[in-house]
C-alpha cells in the first residue's frame, strides 16, 4: 500500500510524531534529525494522506465556490482566476453549480459541500441575507459580486450602479435618448440586475431624460434571451436607439438579432454590455462594455476568505470591498 508516516519514522529511526513535526515545520528540531526525516521521505516517496490530515485537523484546504452556471463566460473566467489565486496560496477550489435554484444554494451553505471546504465564496442568486446569516455556522463565507449588503456578511463586489450609470451616461453623451435595457429582474430581491438598472435610471435622471418602462425588457441572463428581447421590442414596434444589455452575453445576443434584422450597429442602434468578457473585444462590431475589475475581485475575495480561515482577519466586522471599474468604449457604441 501507500507509504505512511510510520514507514518514514521507522526508516529515519525517529518517532511518528517527529515526522509529523518535520512536515508541519515545528520549530524545535535538530537540523540533523530534520535531514534524516527528509531523506527518508524522499527515499520512500512518502506523500501525506490528505484525508487523514483533514480528519484530524478539521481543515481541508479547499474553498467552495457557488455560482449558478460555470458555462456562463463571466463565471468561467471568474472561476479560472479564483482557482489560480487560491492555488498560489495553497488552496484548491471546489465548484458547485446552483442553476439559480434556491434549494441548491441552501444545500451548499449547510450540506456536505460545506463540510468539504474550509470556506465559501458564494454568489447568491435566489436566497437572501437572512437565509445566509442563519446558516453561517463557524466557517467563513464571502459573498461575491452581488448586491446583498448586510452588516453580518463579508462581501466583495463591483460598482454595479456606478458603472451602469457611467455606461448609460456614455450612451447619452453619444446622443442616444431611447435606451432599451435588457435583462431586468423585476421579481428578484437580490442580484446585480436591480443595481445596474438603478444606475441606468440615475444616469437618465441626471441627464433629464424621462424613464420609459416600455424600454425595459425583463429576462434571464442568457444569449438567446438577449436576442429574443430585442425581437420582442421590435415586434411590438418599440422605438429605441441604443440597447444596454445588463451583461455581455445579453448584449451580444441582442446585437446578433439587430444585425440579422438589418439594423446597423452602431449607426442605427448602439449596443453596450457589462462584464467585459473575453469575447466582447472580438465581437463584430466589438462590444462597448464595463470592465468590473474581475482580477481585483478574484484576488481580494480569495485573500479575504483565506485570511478569515486562517484567523488573520479580525472577525468582528464584516468587510465590504468594491472593485474599481473601467468603461471600455468600443465599436458598438463609440
Amino acid at each position: 500500500m501507500a507509504v505512511t508516516m510510520n514507514d518514514v519514522a521507522r526508516a529515519a529511526g525517529v518517532s511518528l510524531k517527529t515526522v509529523s513535526n518535520v512536515l508541519n515545520d515545528y520549530e524545535f528540531i535538530r537540523p540533523a534529525t530534520k535531514k534524516r526525516v527528509q531523506d527518508a521521505i524522499a527515499e520512500l516517496g512518502y506523500e501525506a494522506n490528505l484525508t487523514a490530515r483533514s480528519l484530524r485537523s478539521g481543515k481541508t484546504r479547499m474553498l467552495g465556490l457557488v455560482l449558478s452556471d460555470l458555462s456562463a463566460p463571466y463565471y468561467a473566467e471568474l472561476a479560472s482566476r479564483l482557482m489560480k489565486a487560491a492555488s498560489r496560496r495553497g488552496y484548491r477550489v471546489l465548484v458547485e453549480q446552483s442553476d439559480a435554484v434556491g434549494g441548491v444554494e441552501l444545500n451548499a451553505l449547510q450540506g456536505p459541500f460545506r463540510q468539504l471546504t474550509d470556506g465559501l465564496l458564494f454568489t447568491p442568486l435566489v436566497i437572501d441575507a437572512d437565509a445566509i446569516a442563519d446558516r453561517l455556522g463557524r466557517k467563513p463565507l464571502v459573498l461575491l459580486g452581488e448586491h446583498i449588503l448586510d452588516p453580518r456578511l463579508d462581501l466583495v463586489t463591483m460598482k454595479n450602479g456606478e458603472a451602469a450609470a457611467a455606461l448609460t451616461a456614455h450612451l447619452l453623451a453619444g446622443g442616444r435618448r431611447r435606451i432599451a435595457v435588457i435583462g431586468a429582474h423585476p421579481e428578484e430581491s437580490v442580484g446585480s440586475a436591480g443595481l445596474r438598472l438603478n444606475g441606468y435610471r440615475k444616469a437618465l435622471e441626471e441627464a433629464g431624460v424621462p424613464f420609459n418602462p416600455e424600454l425595459v425588457a425583463p429576462c434571464e441572463w442568457r444569449r438567446d434571451n438577449g436576442a429574443a428581447a430585442v425581437a420582442g421590442l421590435m415586434d411590438r414596434s418599440v422605438e429605441f436607439d441604443a440597447v444596454f444589455g445588463l451583461n455581455d452575453v445579453l448584449a451580444l445576443g441582442a446585437m446578433h438579432e439587430l444585425l440579422i434584422r438589418g439594423v446597423r450597429v452602431p449607426q442605427d442602434v448602439a449596443v453596450a454590455g457589462f462584464d467585459d468578457i473575453d469575447e466582447a473585444r472580438f465581437a463584430s462590431p466589438s462590444l462597448t462594455t464595463v470592465s468590473p475589475g474581475m482580477e481585483e475581485i478574484a484576488e481580494r475575495s480569495i485573500g479575504l476568505l483565506i485570511d478569515r480561515i486562517e484567523g488573520r482577519e479580525a472577525a468582528e466586522q464584516a468587510a465590504h470591498i468594491e472593485a474599481g471599474f473601467q468603461l471600455k468604449v468600443r465599436e458598438s457604441a463609440p
Copy 2:
C-alpha cells in the same frame, strides 16, 4: 460540536455500528430498529462526516478533471456538463487547470490531486501516453477529447479527423479553393490540432486540391491568436478565400480581424470553426462549425469513469469511445 454517529447511536439506543449499517443500507435490520435510528438522525440533524468516511473507505466520491484553462469556452461548457452528469450519479468534480504545462499535468496524475479523487478525467496537452501509463496507479483514468490512442488507456473523444474533413469538404463544395488553416501545432506530438489538420488535408486530397503549407498558420488556441494569424497572412499577401479555425475561438478571432480589415464574410472569405460553443450561434455573422457531441462525451466519459471506479466495467480492455459529430452550417460559410 457536530453530531456524530455516536450521538445518534446513544439517542437511538443502539450501537455505533448499527447506525453505520442503517446508513449503508445493510440488509438485516429490523424495521423498528431502522426507524429508531432514522428518527434519531432526523432529530439530531446528523450528517455523515465525509472526511472520516473517506479515510476509512478510501473513497472520496470526487472525480478529478484536468484541463488547460477553464476560461476557454469549450472547456467551460464541457466542465459544466461533466459536473452535472457526475452530480446525477452522486459524485463531485474537482477541476485542476494545467495551463498546458507538463509539470502540472504530471502532478495531477500522481500528486495530492490524485489522492483527493477516485478517478480522473484527463485532457493531456503536453505529456504523452507513456508518461500517463507509467503513472496510472490503481485509480481509473479516462482520457478526454484528445488524440492519444493507446491500448492501455480509456479514451472518450470526438471524430476530430472525420469532422474536420466534412467541414473542409463543405467549404470546398462552396467553391473555396484556398482554405487557410489557423491553429496548427506543428511541434505537438499529442492533441486535436494534428488530427483536425489531417482531416483537412484528406478532404483536400479527395477533392484534388493541392495542399499549400503557406496557408497553414500555427498558433495557440486563443482568440487573439486567431486574429493575429489572419493579420499575418494578409500582411504577407497570402491569398485565401476561406479560413478554417481549428477551434471556434480561433475562427471568431479570425473573423473579427477580417471584418475590421473590410473583408466581407462570407462573400470574400468564408469562415468556419470547430466546437460549436454557445457563442458560435450568436456571432455576427453566425459561425459555421462542427458540433462534436459534447453532451455525449460528457455523459459517456462520466459513465465510463464511474463504472470503472465502482468495478462494474471489466478492466481487461481499454474502452475507446468516439462521439458522433454534426456539421452546423451557418452564415459565415453557407
